[in-house]
């Protein structure tokens, strides 16, 4: 199979962003009619490479050859001209325009400046037939389901006569049935000779569909797998760079007193369900569930960001009222939010200013003046303790890499000496080294008697790190699993609402 015509050849590609090298001398080959999957952890550089191929961004170094011709991909138009189409993870249809108008957006056939609606409609119908979408082309794109919008995107790609179709996580928001439908369309496209680059986190799909798999790790090329080599374990090993068993090293600690007790809590987002659970000192509790299961909303309620409607929260056996984050902080809670850049950090400020933001008040002189000496001591301590890689304490946080930014957020909360740490997706979008350091830190904190409650979408992380896992589905707790019962199957069964 690999002896077929090479139609896309990427060599030595490098792309830098402030503070991080997104792609470091990577390569990628695609043959005619091939189904190539590109996998890697978050932040491995997959999306950046795809954006470069589609002309959205320009590389710093390296060459892109399409059909044997070196191309300078300086715009989306250039990419389209060479037959490359990218379907973004977030779909880009204009919801107020019809399907037909969306397909021809920017390339409308026109007579004397007036849009030729009839031609557009007929042409659009032809492409919709190709993707087997039986909906009139006049329908507004906003009225379609996500799966149907996906098919419209493919029709749009076909309309520019794409020979290389790049799909970034197309199934991430599709139901099983819609995914099946998509796969059928993809199979048809391959018969037409369209080559496909498929990016996905769902290794099951990847194994089923791919001719070949290219793996990226930390912005570098980490290897290729062909045919029989494509197994779940092999892919994970390449992505992670080591066996998973060595990756998580959690030893349960002796469990202390109950530190947090929640009973009959109703959050603002899901007021129809009552939530009850307990967390003990020295315990690491995971919260698992699918996107939209209400996990973040639960943490927000606990931290007073979106106060609960009813129910009781007790901390160390005392019932408390949590109406704003400062209440929660005074009670020894700390929240590392999911959206690090939007909610966790002030990107324009320095490492020092961010680290001391939550503890500034505690150490203020006369309650007003900031304590410069104490600030410096605290910041230096946190940089050393968390091994944050920063030139100095005055560095602007926005210029640090994701992992180091997350360490600054953690440092901010550790400086308040909390007794219960709430983590929302603590390792999202950070590199593997930093991930492992965060796991170690969780471990260390728990052994010192701190309770850790963490939300994660990565099942491996939940299984690897938690003493106990609370699984949520559509706003309610569908079950609690002790460490010995944690398997991907048992979690997924509860997370999808099964019993």
């Amino acid at each position: 199979m690999s002896q077929q015509n090479l139609i896309l050849n990427v060599q030595g590609l490098t792309k830098r962003f402030p503070g991080v090298v997104a792609l470091n001398n990577v390569q990628l080959q695609l043959h005619e009619g091939e189904f190539l999957s590109l996998i890697g952890e978050n932040g491995a550089g997959k999306s950046t490479l795809m954006k470069i191929l589609a002309g959205v961004q320009l590389q710093d170094e390296g060459t892109v050859e399409v059909f044997g011709e070196t191309v300078h991909m300086d715009s989306v138009k250039t990419a389209q001209h060479h037959g490359i189409a990218l379907i973004h993870q977030e779909l880009n249809l204009s919801e107020n325009l019809s399907i037909a108008a969306n397909i021809f957006l920017g390339r409308e056939p026109a007579t004397a400046g007036f849009i030729d609606k009839e031609t557009i409609r007929c042409e659009a119908q032809r492409f919709l037939d190709m993707v087997d979408l039986k909906i009139p082309p006049e329908t507004l794109a906003g009225d379609l389901s996500i799966g149907q919008q996906q098919l419209v995107e493919i029709a749009k790609a076909l309309s520019i006569d794409a020979r290389i179709l790049i799909m970034d996580e197309p199934t991430s928001s599709l139901s099983a049935g819609e995914s099946e439908r998509l796969f059928e369309v993809i199979a048809e496209l391959r018969e037409r000779g369209v080559s496909i680059i498929y990016i996905s986190h769902r290794l099951g799909e990847v194994r089923m569909l791919s001719d070949r798999v290219t793996i990226f790790r930390d912005g570098k090329y980490a290897g290729d797998l062909c045919g029989e080599e494509i197994t779940h374990d092999a892919m994970v090993k390449h992505m992670v760079g080591r066996d998973i068993s060595q990756y998580y090293s959690h030893e349960p600690n002796p469990i202390g007193d109950v530190i947090l007790e929640v009973s009959k809590l109703r959050t603002q987002a899901n007021p129809e369900h009552e939530l009850s659970f307990k967390v003990h000192q020295g315990e690491i509790v995971g919260i698992s569930g699918l996107v939209g299961a209400g996990r973040t909303e639960l943490l927000d309620a606990l931290f007073g960001v979106a106060p609960a409607i009813s129910g009781t929260i007790s901390i160390s056996d005392q019932q408390v009222e949590l109406t704003c984050p400062s209440d929660a902080i005074n009670l020894g809670l700390a929240l590392v939010p999911e959206d690090r850049k939007g909610k966790g950090l002030v990107l324009q400020m320095s490492v020092k200013e961010n680290t001391t933001m939550a503890s500034l008040k505690t150490h203020a002189i006369n309650g007003i003046f900031s304590n410069a000496e104490r600030e410096e001591l605290d910041t230096d301590e946190m940089i050393a303790r968390l091994r944050t890689k920063t030139p100095n304490a005055e560095q602007t946080v926005g210029f640090l890499s994701g992992g180091n930014q997350q360490k600054v957020v953690l440092g901010k909360w550790l400086a308040t000496s909390p007794s219960l740490l709430l983590l929302d997706e603590p390792t999202r979008g950070i590199d593997i080294g930093a991930k492992q350091e965060i796991y170690q830190l969780m471990e260390e904190l728990a052994s010192q008697g701190m309770a850790v409650l963490f939300v994660s979408s990565e099942l491996e992380e939940i299984i690897g790190m938690s003493d106990r896992t609370i699984v949520m589905h559509e706003g309610k707790i569908t079950g609690e699993l002790p460490r010995e019962d944690l398997t991907e199957e048992s979690i997924m069964r509860l997370a999808t609402g099964g019993v």
Binding site: P18, S326, L335, V346, F369
Partner: protein
């Protein structure tokens, strides 16, 4: 810091250029005193709006509020005769309340700051016109020697200020040197240099006192420090007359002029030797700075026929000369800047000596001009007090940090336990307080309050000063020193329009263009710095990889 240096440079440039082009009219005491009053007034309201801008908001109601304050004052003071104390309390109370309401509407009712304060702009103007029946008011002559002195008084001479400032800073430097010695850390050199400079400033200030008799000094201070709260009439010394009596009088022998001259001459060989040292380290930069310095000096010589205007000598200047002077000054300042930057980085000892030389030269130069006969007006004292307090609040207290943090990222600040709503309300209250102080002074200064026009557009001047001083309308960025200098730049420009007899119809256009250029230059420098940083980062990463 760079930003402040840049705008300071612009201020110096504007002052020197205006002075030369106006044939020395700029430095006469009358003009400088007026300029200081206006700068102080706009600086005070600029500081207020800077706090709001730092939170990412805006206050458009300042001008109308100043109008309302003026009208309220004429009513309570003249019509109702409630007395000075009551008037000031009422005005402050009303302003703080309005600021508090702005804050509440923005945080609790979730209205946009633009909309809330735009409504304020309309409402307060209407209220001002209604309560006064749209008739122009004033304070008459009764308060000329009491309350109005808040705006028109001139309590200190430049000499006093220089002496007090010099001695205070000297003492501070000595304290720092002793502390450094005890702790055996820090950089004592910087403090030694600072001490030497401030001693020079104090001496040059003291030397001016010998220009007038001790008798006159006492008279001067009694005339200007009357009890502001009473209407007592005091014998006054006619300042203008004193100016006429001592036209362009040189400083006394108390401060050996020869020494200053000598140091001034020393500066030239010193600068040349420095250039050679520098040449060894960074040839490219040294060459650029030397070329710029030489060409600047040459052009200065060429334009030297106008230099005598620096000393207050009047001269008519044509259009060609105007271009000449501006180009010369520009090149010279750029050369000095380039030179200083290079030295600043690599040679700390030379930097110290250079700054001592420069200060001495400037002291000498100033003592030759009428600047030293200028008196400091009272609003300047208000500005000094408010800006110091504001700077300490913004940079040294936790609440200042909170304001900057929430201006940059409100949700991150809230999640860090900061009560963001309370901080935003505080910012609007601070703004209202500054507006009240500014409004009182504006009313007293003008003594004629037209309900429909008093304070019109002042909010825009305040916002412009803040933006020129480095505040970002996106929030989270800004410095008090920058705002004050920004206000000064605006007033100097305005002043130059009058002095250079440029048609006043062009006033807004010129100020607009200058602000635009200032902000563009700032963006440009920011972008340049970012690119540099990225390159450095890339190199660092490459090194690590290899």
């Amino acid at each position: 810091m760079n930003k402040i240096m840049g705008i300071l440079m612009l201020l110096v440039f504007a002052c020197i250029a205006t002075n030369i082009l106006s044939g020395g009219s700029f430095v006469i005491p009358f003009n400088l005193q007026n300029l200081m009053v206006r700068t102080s007034l706009f600086g005070i309201i600029g500081i207020g709006v800077a706090f709001v801008i730092i939170t990412g908001g805006i206050d458009l109601s300042i001008g109308s509020m100043i109008g309302l304050i003026g009208c309220l004052m004429t009513i309570t003071l003249i019509d109702k005769e409630w007395g000075i104390m009551a008037t000031l309390l009422i005005v402050l109370g009303v302003s703080l309340l309005l600021g508090f309401v702005h804050g509440l509407l923005i945080t609790k009712a979730h209205l946009q700051p633009f909309v809330v304060t735009l409504c304020g702009l309309l409402i307060y103007r209407g209220a001002a016109r209604w309560i006064t029946g749209d008739s122009t008011g004033g304070f008459g002559k009764d308060y000329n020697d009491s309350l109005r002195l808040l705006a028109t008084g001139k309590p200190f001479s430049t000499a006093t200020v220089l002496i007090v400032l010099g001695i205070t800073v000297t003492l501070f430097c000595m304290y720092k040197i002793i502390r450094n010695n005890q702790q055996k850390q820090g950089k004592p050199l910087n403090w030694v240099i600072g001490g030497v400079i401030s001693i020079c400033v104090a001496i040059s200030g003291a030397s001016r006192f010998s220009n007038i008799s001790a008798d006159q000094v006492i008279q001067l201070s009694t005339a200007t420090t009357v009890n502001i709260m009473s209407k007592r009439d005091t014998a006054k010394l006619d300042i203008t007359k004193m100016d006429e009596e001592n036209p362009g009088k040189r400083p006394s022998q108390f401060m050996p002029e020869i020494l200053l001259n000598y140091v001034g001459y020393l500066a030239i060989p010193f600068a040349v030797s420095l250039a050679f040292v520098f040449l060894k380290r960074d040839t490219h930069a040294a060459l650029i700075s030397i070329v710029l310095l030489i060409s600047g000096a040459a052009l200065t010589l060429w334009a030297s026929s106008y230099v005598s205007t620096l000393f207050g000598e009047k001269k008519d200047i044509g259009f060609l000369a105007i271009t000449e002077v501006i180009v010369t000054l520009g090149i010279f300042i750029a050369g000095v800047d380039r030179f200083l930057k290079g030295v600043y980085r690599s040679l700390p000892e030379y930097r110290g000596l250079l700054s001592i030389t420069c200060t001495l030269s400037v002291c000498w130069l100033v003592s030759q001009t009428p600047i030293c006969r200028t008196l400091i007006p009272t609003p300047m004292v208000f500005l000094a007090a408010i800006s110091t307090a504001a700077a300490i609040f913004l940079n040294k207290t936790i609440y200042g940090r909170y304001l900057l943090a929430l201006g940059n990222n409100e949700s991150a600040a809230r999640l860090s336990g900061i009560n963001t709503d309370r901080m935003i309300i505080l910012a609007y209250v601070i703004c209202a307080f500054c507006t009240a102080v500014g409004g009182i002074l504006f009313a007293l200064d003008g003594n004629s309050i037209q309900p429909a026009g008093h304070g019109n557009f002042y909010e825009l001047y305040a916002i412009a000063a803040a933006v020129l001083g480095g505040c970002s309308l996106r929030g989270g960025e800004g410095s008090i020193a920058g705002v004050v200098i920004g206000a000064a730049v605006m007033r100097v420009l305005y002043n130059s329009i009058t002095l250079l007899k440029i048609p006043t119809s062009l006033e807004f256009a010129i100020i607009g263009v200058v602000i635009m250029i200032g902000v563009l230059a700032d963006e440009f420098v920011k972008k340049l710095n970012n690119t540099k940083r990225q390159q450095a980062e890339a190199e660092r990463v490459n090194l690590v990889d290899q």
